[in-house]
Subunit: 386 residues, 2 copies
Amino acid sequence: MPGIIKERLFTPGPTPLLMEAQARTLVAANVHHRTEAFRQLMRETLEHLKYYFNTQNDVLIFASSGTGAMEGSISNLLSPGERILVGTAGKFGERWFGLAEAYGIEVVKVEAPYGHPLNIAEMKGRLEKDGPFRAVYIQATETSTAVSHDVKALGEIVKAYPETCLVVDAITGLGTTELRPDEWGLDIVIGGSQKAVMIPPGLAFASVSEKAWGLIAKAKLPRYYFDFAKERKNQAKGETSYTPAITLIISLHAALEYIRKMGRENLIANAALLAEMTREAAQALRLKLFAVSSPANAATAICAPDGMDSGAIIKELRSRFGAIVANGQGSMKGKIFRVAHLGYYDAADLFAVVAALEVVLLKLEHRVELGSGVRAAEEVYLRHCR
Amino acid sequence: MPGIIKERLFTPGPTPLLMEAQARTLVAANVHHRTEAFRQLMRETLEHLKYYFNTQNDVLIFASSGTGAMEGSISNLLSPGERILVGTAGKFGERWFGLAEAYGIEVVKVEAPYGHPLNIAEMKGRLEKDGPFRAVYIQATETSTAVSHDVKALGEIVKAYPETCLVVDAITGLGTTELRPDEWGLDIVIGGSQKAVMIPPGLAFASVSEKAWGLIAKAKLPRYYFDFAKERKNQAKGETSYTPAITLIISLHAALEYIRKMGRENLIANAALLAEMTREAAQALRLKLFAVSSPANAATAICAPDGMDSGAIIKELRSRFGAIVANGQGSMKGKIFRVAHLGYYDAADLFAVVAALEVVLLKLEHRVELGSGVRAAEEVYLRHCR
């Protein structure tokens, strides 16, 4: 150890923990979930989640990672023989394929190349020509490419189909981009705990609209652990169907109080500011952004310089500065690296990682003007924060 | 709250906590100090402290702030009617005056102007002409001005006086600057917990040489709580004379293990690197350093631009970026601000605070080139870390 190097997460999940929320679990060594005190905490947490999701719909909590709620959005909505429309533009979009396949559900795909947002007009055309579809599946932000999709436009389209639900994986979209599930017709919105809500992995969330409840009542695919209707009934009483992840819910309650105090819109604005700072810093350092358009606020995907493996950048950032950034996934591995902005990150964090990146790039013989990336980030800060 | 702003200490004590050390206290809810397990921990901690102090002398631990051990270095060494020589160049040096006065001890002063190191030749002259002195008091680093004194040179001089001890307040010197108490003749060296050792305030340390023990045996000033000889006897058995600050000692043990693993010399090199980065960054931002020469590694004192109150810089750093830096003390208040490097700070921390400073200076209408301070810091990093 050559002096002090602090580990710093800059990954799009897990994200840095809000220690005030984490600390609450330390004074909760003897909490039982079948008590009125816990029910009260659970009810409050569910109310806070509605605020966080910006919805009046039910929001359910599961002890699982986000993928569990994604599975639930398949198994609860569909019946054997039904077909779904899936829009994908990256590794998380492709997860819908595996889930559908596991349940024998036929998928019609609309795909955008990695780095591009989905073409919503193309999805509209598919809905019109290739239907009926019981549900449409999409990401709010595709974390693997750091691109946002226009879920609002898609919601307006799907609204016209009373027998079709729109399911949005907003695992990294929540807290980083404006979502109006009720106005836009986002019937199921999925979240996870290790993202902008600043707590550890282990909880999945799903908001469910009245339209979705109607279809769920008729859906015949098998489900047990992720049974939305059963969970709705129990959670209305502050109960859960199975043992809840008690400490995570205690953290969640505290983190959501912090977010309510800050304001959901300020959490989103924070991510947007950091994302813009990062984009301008990267460009000042002569690095290309992977997102061709519609970059996400949740994270920024940056291309390694030609001929350089992004893994080398990631390794040096970690060993020299303790900064942990994410590599690309699948075919993007080695080509890009991803710096996250979702949740508990601030401007000073960003200055630190950009300066660290400047040093690392120079060491790897990418010609950069030291300080120029930080300057670009500072200029963005100054434009927005007077 | 306009988005996320994390609080970050950049003060020369308290310093950021090593959470691995802090966490140990959380699994120690039922520790009693009159047990063999605690005695074992105490003995190990005292051994670790010897490593940290770089000495074979006894090192004692007190439940007090550093000032308590400073008082003990007066009350244990001296008898009524004896005189001491005090070298001072700032607010912490001046503390010796108050301590001596409280015990009716006559002081001969050697003073350097704020921002300057002590003139050791002048101290030598005083020792020769104005003695005898029972003890000489000095700081290793004067935290209020962020200047280091040449304790090695002074030690060589005082060694020649068998009836005179050299007492060094190394509260911010330990872990930031090389000290060789045994070779250099530093008879009593004083430390505190909330400094480079990365734990909270509440513990004072004092190493005591054989020469000092000899004088302590004859010293007549009253002492009770800070009775070094009594504490030596108890601590040799892993006991303390009065109730020890249990959780702080548990943290201390863990933090010293971390430091042993890193290497004392690497902890010092870390502070030296960050201090050099800060000095060059400040100069790139056209800010004057307060230390005219011999700047400390523990912290860097930077002058506010002409006509600007340093309090304005401090306020903006805190409100915009959560960065807490120290103002000047006494007559230096409003003129300087101090950025600390002692203990748990790393290069990425420094990049963050320098970038934050650039933004704040620009907002306060000090003309700076954005990114230039960070660049200067990066260049220092690159010179030292290949």
